[in-house]
């Protein structure tokens, strides 16, 4: 019994990581209907930025977030303003293709710069710190921090969306771009801010991923699928839904693995398909199609 409890708990904690992968995706899809195929590679890019920061300044990975998050946000703003804004239009395909190309460019650029070496961020003793909740149920310090940060990020995004002028601008552009423009909103700037915010979340996700496990230039796409699934389960454009999606995915994978490790990913995909079949709009949809 406690064994199952432990497995489910670890699944929930990993759900936080999936939610962070997904939040950025959900955000930009919600605001500008852009499916960012390069999202996974941007997570890896953030990990490399963090690697450079920790190595040159000797900072702790978690402290390095103070630099990595603004740096990635800046990259996001520039990326949207200079490149992706030009691809947006009535057709979904051009941005899809451009981000696909971006994914390949980032992977090979990182390979040239950093070689194929497997890297990891060193967080020191906190990596292995753990406490025993009860007999057989262990909670690692790092997964717990990761989950708390994920919840904080989601809560922060939700606040931003519904309580601030920027959030209003996001929602307005999302609802009707033409009218938002008539009301004096510069949609190019709004989109760029959304991408900046998305990459700020990506930066946090990237650092946690890089502390958890090794990374190399090619791992981005493999991590992306869970982000997409969490977005779909939770419902497009909904922040709390994204967290719920991440947790559902994490727990179903954990339960699947407990039955047989071969079923781990399958169980996650099945949960995803089941929800897609029963509620195609996701659990808490904010945007329709």
């Amino acid at each position: 019994m406690t064994e199952w409890l432990n497995v489910i708990l670890q699944g929930v904690l990993i759900g936080g990581l999936y939610a962070m992968f997904a939040a950025g995706l959900s955000l930009i899809f919600g605001v500008m209907r852009l499916v960012n195929i390069a999202h996974g590679d941007l997570i890896v890019l953030a990990a490399y930025v963090a690697l450079m920061v920790t190595q040159t300044l000797g900072l702790d990975p978690l402290t390095s977030l103070l630099l990595v998050v603004p740096a990635m946000a800046l990259i996001g703003y520039a990326l949207q303003r200079l490149l992706l804004n030009r691809t947006l239009g009535d057709d979904l395909l051009p941005p899809l293709l451009v981000t696909f190309g971006l994914s390949i460019i980032i992977q090979n650029g990182l390979l040239e710069l950093f070689t194929a070496d497997s890297r990891k961020l060193q967080a020191g003793a906190i990596e292995v710190q753990t406490f025993q909740m009860m007999e057989g149920v262990w909670v690692g310090a790092l997964p717990l921090i990761q989950f708390i940060v994920a919840v904080a990020v989601i809560a922060g995004l939700q606040m931003l969306f519904y309580r601030t002028a920027l959030g209003r601008a996001f929602r307005a552009t999302s609802d009707d771009q033409a009218v938002a423009q008539l009301m004096g909103l510069d949609t190019r700037h709004v989109f760029a801010m959304a991408m900046a915010l998305s990459l700020a979340v990506v930066a946090i996700a990237g650092v946690f991923l890089a502390v958890r496990a090794n990374f190399d230039p090619s791992i981005g796409p493999a991590r992306l699928i869970f982000g997409f699934e969490a977005v779909i389960i939770g419902g497009l454009g909904s922040m709390w839904g994204t967290l719920a999606g991440g947790v559902i995915l994490g727990v179903s994978q954990a339960v699947g693995a407990q039955i047989d490790p071969g079923w781990q990913l399958l169980a996650g995909h099945l949960a995803f398909l089941a929800i897609l079949a029963v509620r195609p709009q996701g659990l808490f949809p904010k945007v329709s199609g």
């Binding site: 064994e3 432990n6 497995v7 670890q10 699944g11 990993i14 990581l17 992977q107 090979n108 390979l111 070689t115 194929a116 070496d117 497997s118 890297r119 990891k120 060193q122 990596e127 292995v128 710190q129 753990t130 025993q132 057989g136 262990w138 909670v139 690692g140 310090a141 790092l142 997964p143 958890r212 496990a213 090794n214 990374f215 190399d216 090619s218 791992i219 493999a222 991590r223 869970f226 994490g250 994978q253 954990a254 693995a257 407990q258 047989d260 490790p261 071969g262 781990q264 990913l265």
Partner: protein, 423 residues
């Protein structure tokens, strides 16, 4: 406009016609500088890029040696090596191999690193009847992965590396040096290597059982796994003191930090593939100390290159000097692959004829930088084996060093130290 033959054209053509016999006369001389083309496929980008990392260094070295040409039977041939990137994908490897064979018309094709490269390259060579030499992939995934029949074997494709039985032998010999409860947790992914290692008939399970070890195999997991809780709780419940398997570095790192977070502390952790590269061990920090792995090749191996005369240490030092990077185990095999290819071409009766090259491969008896390469029909017709031992990453003066901790399986390779339990 009608074409009329001007006096000038007539004169030019006439001269050409007079000169023609002289040109035909020159043909044999041209044959002396004929070009032999070697096609090479390896992963230079993608998840397997670590295996192809030394390629540029090795290719530069080999091309330097071949710049004077290759002498065979008194004739000097020009040798051109065309190297292509498999992008770590089996379908891409197959595509570039077919380009090399059909487009570039290579005389010999060589390939290296994991079943994802060796198998599609060898398959293309076999279909198109081009001689092929591969390395750097355990022989079972190479041979049985290509649906090889031990009774018949393949015609055009040959391979040198070690096999699972060597891994099992050296892992067991390593574990025997420490007292444990002999309960082993197995981590096998659902990929070519993982399925071969965990195979109930040919893999680790029967061999470990025969040696008195109890192997706990929770089942195949998907690569790029985010959660090993299920496996860790199973190992903890069974009281496993040894963990083994075949993993990729990101999966091992995930497993290893989760193991610590879940309070699982095995005495010995011996993992294939993930722990080969010094960069991976460095990335694990303190937690990399004491991990154990199979060892194919080190600078301390007692072999010499027949091509450059370099010893193993000379080669790795040259590599470190040229690239400013630590040595890795594939370097020796990348070098040996070209050594063997050049030796084969030197001995071939006609180094541009596929059948003659094949005969020469079959007759190979060569001392390379990874040891002797000679296809004797053991373990199967198309495979010959190189030595395999096991080693432990030990921290010495703040740097991780791979220390050979077991040489029962290949006593000619010197021991570097004793196996220490993970503290």
């Amino acid at each position: 406009m009608t074409k009329t033959i001007s006096r000038r054209t007539l004169v030019k053509t006439g001269i050409g016609a007079i000169a023609a016999p002289a040109m035909f006369g020159a043909l044999p001389a041209q044959a002396q500088t004929a070009t032999i083309k070697i096609g090479h496929v390896s992963p230079k980008t993608g998840p397997l890029a670590g295996f192809g990392e030394a390629d540029n260094f090795i290719l530069e070295q080999v091309r330097g040696i071949l710049s004077k040409g290759l002498v065979n039977g008194g004739k000097t041939y020009k040798v051109e090596i065309i190297s292509k990137d498999s992008q770590s994908s089996a379908s891409r490897a197959s595509e570039v191999a077919s380009e090399l064979i059909l487009g570039d018309k290579v005389n010999l094709i060589v390939g290296s690193a994991t079943p994802d490269t060796t198998n599609p390259v060898a398959d293309q060579a076999e279909i198109n009847e081009v001689p092929c030499i591969t390395t750097n992939c355990p022989w079972q995934p190479y041979f049985f992965g290509r649906k090889g029949d031990p009774k018949k074997g393949f015609t055009w494709t040959y391979h040198f590396f070690w096999g699972l039985e060597d891994v099992i032998g050296s892992f067991l010999a390593l574990w025997d040096t420490l007292p444990t409860n002999k309960v082993v947790g197995g981590l096998f992914p659902n990929d070519a290597d993982g399925n071969a290692w965990g195979d109930k008939e040919r893999g680790l399970p029967p061999a470990l059982a025969a040696a008195g070890y109890k192997l706990l195999d929770p089942g195949r997991y998907q690569v790029m796994n985010n959660d090993f809780t299920a496996q860790i709780s199973a190992f903890k419940a069974a009281g496993a003191e040894i963990v083994t398997g075949n993993m990729i570095p990101p999966d091992f790192a995930t497993f290893w930090s989760q193991a610590a977070q879940q309070g699982f502390k095995p005495k010995i952790v011996t993992i294939g593939k993930a722990l080969l590269f010094p960069s991976v061990i460095e990335s694990l920090g303190e937690r990399g100390n004491g991990l154990t792995s199979e060892v194919w090749w080190t600078p301390n191996h007692p072999y010499k290159s027949g091509l450059t005369g370099q010893g193993c240490k000379d080669l790795t030092e040259a590599y470190t000097k040229a690239t400013n990077r630590p040595w890795t185990q594939p370097i020796g095999f990348q070098h040996a692959l070209f050594e063997v290819a050049i030796d084969v071409l030197k001995r071939a009766k006609n180094p541009t004829d596929p059948k003659a090259i094949l005969d020469s491969i079959i007759a190979t008896n060569y001392e390379s930088i990874v040891g002797k390469v000679q296809w004797t029909g053991q373990p199967v017709k198309n495979v010959t084996k190189t030595a395999l031992v096991a080693g432990q990453w030990q921290r010495k003066n703040g740097k991780s060093e791979l220390v050979i901790a077991e040489n029962k399986t290949a006593p000619n390779i010197p021991m570097g130290g004793k196996l220490l339990p993970i503290s």
